[in-house]
């Protein structure tokens, strides 16, 4: 029996339930949450090692055999994502201690925080399409609460938008699953893949594929469906924003990747080309937004859209290299987006504003903050030896191999503009004339800086140690490019 892979879901769930009892005792909550999040990291690390040595791990929940019960599946792709999620959860948790404020902490902040991690880890681990929907809802419900918690005017307004969009997209998700179920008659992902392969993807399946793209695109903010994101992500407090920016859209990206590599790969000329076009348009829209704004939060938020585009472009090309590049870039982007949002949070805490035109000369008083930000910016743009480099190289290489020259060129060009947008923050905010900020005494900069420094170090190690990490990435990409490995691990035929 192999109950190990359920633990990254079970530990945060149990912690969240226990934390409800301690709602008024902040210190107890912090300790419990920290310990459980360390336990989750250890467990997810063990899972990665186990998948590396023994292949895909699957668990038939409640002892019902594969197509009939719910199956949890940890292949290398999902176990790496679970590990990254756990690490980011831990780091943002530490940041929250000094940043979120006691008011929110007493109103179930940590409990809901853990429930969000349950949803994300569950969505990454599940092998059942309807169970994926349920975990999406667990994640979204928690994100609604985290978004509105505190009840300021802007949070209330943006929560309404966010809720509306997600309720609609969840309804579409159910409809898409209903269509899929009425065509193939099963919900287990491996079994769905097998059944689609048997009938060879008739047109109705292609329609369903596009419907899934719309659903996951709404969650993951790709080109025409990203409209809700800049406003909604602007509203919540920084730790919540970092959690959203690093995890939520990536679950949409993961789901697109999973369905487009496992289910809908028979008519790639249409579906994957559509995905590729939308990905490229997302990159273009993202960089335009990132360049246009003079608000540091908005700049980083638009960079999320760029990254989503880059990853999905890699998926759409479907060569082994581009898939590996996408996996690598996805992990890198989760880490570095969390780091950037946390750094932006410190800048806002120090200066009291997110308007770039009102900030300058931070480097004189906060050199640590400045250089951490600089390294994070370099990693984001993909300067070797940092972590953004190899992912993009592989994606571009895969793009050229797949003879998709325009797309690959746009991915390359986008790096330049991403670099420009992020260096705009560095040059205008950190260099220049030194101003004295009144609020700076209040911000516990040293404590807050721990979290982004951990993430930046991780990102640097991830880039420098790519020699050691690439076998894992290629193992993940191998499963993505050959669905039969996944199917065999689940159905054991």
């Amino acid at each position: 029996m192999n109950n190990l892979i359920v633990l990254p879901i079970l530990i945060p769930l149990l912690t969240g339930a226990i934390l409800i009892f301690f709602s008024k005792r902040v210190m107890a909550q912090r300790w419990i949450a920290t310990l459980s999040s360390i336990a989750t990291i250890i467990v997810s690390f063990l899972i990665v090692q186990k998948v590396r040595s023994e292949g895909i791990q699957s668990l038939n929940i409640s002892s019902w055999d594969a197509p009939f019960g719910i199956t949890l599946v940890s292949d290398m792709f999902s176990s790496l994502l679970v590990l990254t999620t756990s690490i980011i959860g831990f780091v943002i948790l530490i940041y929250s201690f000094k940043s979120i404020g006691e008011e929110r902490e007493k109103f179930y902040y940590y409990a809901v925080f853990n429930f969000l991690l349950v949803g994300v880890n569950g969505a990454f681990t599940t092998g059942d399409i309807f169970n994926l929907f349920v975990f999406f809802e667990v994640m979204l419900m928690s994100s609604y609460v985290l978004l509105v918690l505190g009840g300021t005017k802007i949070q209330l307004r943006e929560s309404i938008k966010y809720l509306l969009v997600n309720v609609i997209s969840s309804a579409l998700f159910v409809i898409a699953v209903a269509y899929l179920y009425s065509v193939v008659g099963t919900l287990n992902m491996a079994h769905v893949s097998l059944r689609i392969a048997e009938v060879g993807q008739p047109v109705i399946i292609t329609v369903i594929a596009v419907l899934f793209l719309v659903v996951y695109g709404l969650k993951g903010a790709i080109f025409p469906l990203y409209f809700w994101m800049p406003g909604s992500y602007y509203a919540p407090p920084i730790p919540v924003l970092a959690l959203f920016g690093a995890l939520l859209t990536k679950v949409g990206v993961y789901s697109i990747t999973r369905t487009y590599t496992l289910f809908f790969y028979h008519d790639a000329g249409f579906t994957h080309q559509l995905l590729g076009i939308l990905a490229i348009l997302s990159i273009i829209v993202g960089v335009i937004g990132a360049i246009a704004y003079w608000d540091i939060k908005n700049i980083v938020i638009y960079n999320i859209i760029v990254a989503v585009g880059v990853i999905l472009y890699g998926i759409s090309v479907m060569t082994p290299d581009s898939l590996a590049g996408s996996v690598y870039y996805l992990l890198h982007d989760m880490i570095i987006k969390a780091a950037l949002f946390l750094l932006v949070g410190i800048v806002i805490a120090v200066t009291g504003t997110s308007n770039l035109k009102k900030i300058s000369g931070l480097i004189k008083h906060y050199p640590g903050l400045a250089w951490t930000f600089f390294i994070a910016a370099m990693a984001l743009a993909g300067i070797p030896p940092l972590s953004g480099f190899i992912g993009k190289v592989l994606i571009v290489k895969g793009g050229f191999e797949g003879e998709s020259y325009v797309g690959a060129a746009i991915v390359l060009m986008s790096s330049l503009l991403v670099l420009f947008s992020i260096m705009k923050i560095f040059i205008n905010g950190f260099w220049g004339e030194d101003r004295s900020y009144d609020v700076k005494e209040k911000a516990p900069v040293k404590w807050l800086l721990i979290s982004p420094v951990i993430l930046v170090i991780l990102s640097a190690l991830y880039g420098l140690g790519s020699e050691a990490i690439l076998p894992y990435i290629y193992q993940a990409a191998e499963t993505l490019s050959d669905p039969s490995i996944y199917i065999q691990a689940v159905l054991k035929e």
């Binding site: 029996m1 149990l14 339930a17």
Partner: protein, 141 residues
């Protein structure tokens, strides 16, 4: 405090309440063999408490039933998680349930299933969540 006289409403609800609670418990326990289960049973129990709220005011009901419904929700969650995680102790897959016949002196031979405990968790969560929603909206000025 209410000033109007609600003798008929309050008296009839005092009697009705027991029937509704009994029926909800019946629905809950019959869930495995007949339509019903934790969700509808919990909703019906919450409905009974809501009737009390209509007949009396929030303070009186809180005195009759001194339950913190948020804690009740958490207890329900712990029940559900506990019964599903219990499988881990016996080295079988998560959520595997156990089943057996037990002879109890008065009731005789009855079949017990750990899924009932899971359902009890669902029951608590449903009661807790429904009552939390209604109470917080009711108390809101």
């Amino acid at each position: 405090m209410r000033t109007t006289n609600n003798v008929i409403l309050q008296t009839s609800i005092k009697i009705l309440l027991f029937f509704i609670v009994l029926y909800s418990v019946y629905i809950f326990t019959a869930g495995h063999y007949y339509p019903g289960g934790g969700f509808i049973g919990g909703l019906m129990t919450a409905g009974a408490i809501v009737l009390l709220l209509i007949a009396y005011d929030i303070k009186t009901v809180a005195k009759i039933l001194p339950v913190n419904y948020r804690i009740l929700t958490a207890v329900g969650l712990i029940f559900a998680i506990g019964t599903s995680a219990g499988a881990l102790l016996f080295n079988v897959p998560f959520l595997t349930h156990a089943f057996g016949h037990v002879v109890i002196p008065v009731l005789g031979d009855i079949s017990l299933h750990t899924a009932t405990l899971f359902d009890l968790g669902v029951y608590f969560v449903v009661v807790g969540v429904t009552m939390t929603i209604i109470q917080t909206i009711g108390e809101d000025e």
